[in-house]
Symmetry: D2
Subunit: 239 residues, 4 copies
């Protein structure tokens, strides 16, 4: 059983009727809905407006994978939550940043870079190419899939070179983007996935759902060793 | 169900009583025995002395993961088998090279380098450190484990930098070695694991068995897309 | 002083007037011409039609960087030359494969994969994005540059994930391509650069020339250690 | 001309006679001395006790490479200096963290991980193996070199997997360590180098000096493109 938590700043759905029509239960609700179909996942949700901004210690410390969606309220996230979340990733929790989550405090902290990029809100097509068909996050996908309308994100995407690059996106206006990026940090795994703008029904699209489901399984803790740090004694009786 | 095939040149067990005492059913038999405990694995074995050197097309083309053990008879492996195996990795078959398999024709072909290294047969201790505790091949392991007596392999190990480095070994004579190396090649995944000298009961050790079991699951095909190649038409009706 | 050798199969220039008009001295001649401007480079050229296919031992063994252009005559390159070239890369020689050189025997041997890809000869635009602006091969470039007309190459490009990915290309028909790929193999460095179709004046374009010049300097041997291999003695008198 | 700045917390040299005997002009003075031999380097130094902690904007913004040595006073470094330094790396400044600099605020920010490790102060030998002989930081080195007495650092070293791993260290007590680690972050390059404990004359050792000199040249900015970020217009007139 993998315990997944879908976090959402839950702002645009409240503010804009157009977003609410696409995601009547919030983006977190939409993501939770398709994840719940998998019986091996226990799915929780929370938002910026909940007590402890949705992630009190007793929740944060017991989840396996945290999915993060935020866009215009990154600055409202408590630095304490950022620090606790970063620590949990180091301890093994998986972290999946979606779309505008590239600019969340947590993701920037985990990357160590500005995470800046180019963008354009013009409802353009995106073609997402699988450049690593051996990766579990590519399971069940065609060699590319398209999102009919989305916000464009373009390079230079100021991230560390991914430990594994799974997707590269094409946009009709002349841009490319490293849109599926895997990282190992501490005992935890991180996946950045580009699609997901709030004004389009992207999280209702089967390929997008498949990627996120795959990523949850990939990012779940593997029960690897918990390293010890600090002052140590030498090996005795070397042969 | 993952279909695993354990291949062995099966030479030293036949020739040397000392090796036979450790591996009475051959190294392939010993590996198959501990893998068979896992009900999700279907385990097959074969050797250099079997028809088609153990891997006729109808076998090779239907297995998910191939484990390779060879040492002194690499040169006897048919170039045709090498080419067919390389192609199968490109198509998605997992490949696990053990110990002296670093010098097998197939592994060298897949790596593109000499795969040479330093060695010493002195029954020394090996301490294997997990340097990536987030990786599924490190599941269930302590932060290091030791092999009491083994042949030493030392750097410079002439391989491509691993896509992911999971283990680094320490030897008492002053050497280190990148001993757990993951690669993605084509649609397939490759794992090189250093331990396994034939004159020591290394494949009877639980940590070693755990690593190989983990590696089989990691290397199994994921049902990623089968890329198409060649002449293609452009996207029509770009927005 | 870096000794560079530009190799060309030199076929299409002989056969087609249209190619000859663009490259009257051959593609190798055009590349040599712009490299020669750099006083720190000693530039040599040779072709498939020369004795020893242009690379006898006394030449191959004394050059620092080998630039390779081939397209329709890969199969005519002697396997012996392929093996000698691969060995020289392992010993430290830089190797730069241009455009259709992705399918050269040497490059495929060094990569260990099929190196296959998608293509389309339609004289389309290419936009080459720098995704690693810290890399010396990106020196002096804008954040992207365009090639007005070229053959398209598209993903899935069946190569190992580059040790460093420097460029990603965009094409108007909906394709992307990892178009600047760095590898370390043995003591040598390898760069694959996508542009360069023979029916367009691509090697006359300043940005392309800059990339190739940068790559020559990056790929030149660095006087790193020559590893020793084989049986070794242990460290004595460990503290 | 590369403008290098050697920063030192400059604490143990003031406090301990034993350290002062080894480094009478401070560790920064010792490093500056051997770097100054290279006429292509302009070498500056500064310490925690200088105005603006040694790095006012007009200095920080004009240096090419910053070498950082700190051990027991990391917490005294202003967060503002940390933020300004991180930003400068993103803009292209090289950053070299030495030894206990693994725990400096800046390095931890750039890595996004805890950067924790094992250690032992027992004056043990260290054997540093070159695992990538093609890398410019390995120029002029033997395939391994030894430091007679040093503080031990052991894995698990909680860093992101290096973009390029150049050195792996061996210690007699049974530990290994990834001791030469290269990263690209933003437009800047980062090198972590393990040796350098203040109670041993490590920075007087020629091999160590060679590594640091090599690293300065490798980390210097390359004049790559300065990416633009934010809202962009699409390409017009796609063919």
């Amino acid at each position: 059983m993998i315990r997944v938590f879908v976090w959402n700043e839950f702002h645009s759905e409240k503010k804009y009727e157009a977003v609410r029509e696409i995601y009547p239960n919030g983006i977190h609700g939409a993501i939770a809905d398709f994840l719940k179909v998998d019986e091996k996942l226990e799915v929780l949700t929370g938002t910026l407006h909940d007590p402890a901004q949705g992630l009190p210690d007793d929740v944060l410390n017991t989840i396996d994978v945290l999915i993060w969606w935020g866009h215009s309220r990154h600055h409202e996230v408590d630095d304490d939550l950022v620090a606790r979340t970063q620590k949990r990733v180091h301890e093994g929790m998986g972290f999946i940043a979606l779309h505008s989550g590239h600019f969340s405090k947590v993701f920037k902290r985990l990357m160590g870079t500005s995470c800046d990029l180019k963008w354009r809100e013009a409802g353009e097509k995106e073609r997402i190419w699988v450049v690593d068909p051996s990766h579990p996050i590519a399971a069940g996908l065609p060699e590319y899939f398209e999102i009919e309308q989305t916000e464009m994100y373009g390079e230079r995407f100021d991230i560390p070179a991914p430990d594994t690059l799974v997707f590269v996106s094409w946009f009709p206006g002349g841009e490319v983007f490293r849109s599926g990026c895997c990282y190992h940090r501490g005992r935890g795994k991180i996946f950045y996935f580009r699609p997901g703008h709030e004004t389009f029904p992207i999280f209702h699209q089967p390929e997008v759902q498949r990627v996120i489901s795959n990523a949850v399984r990939w990012a779940a803790p593997v029960n690897g060793p918990a390293p010890t740090f600090g002052n140590v004694k030498p090996l005795e009786n070397i042969q």
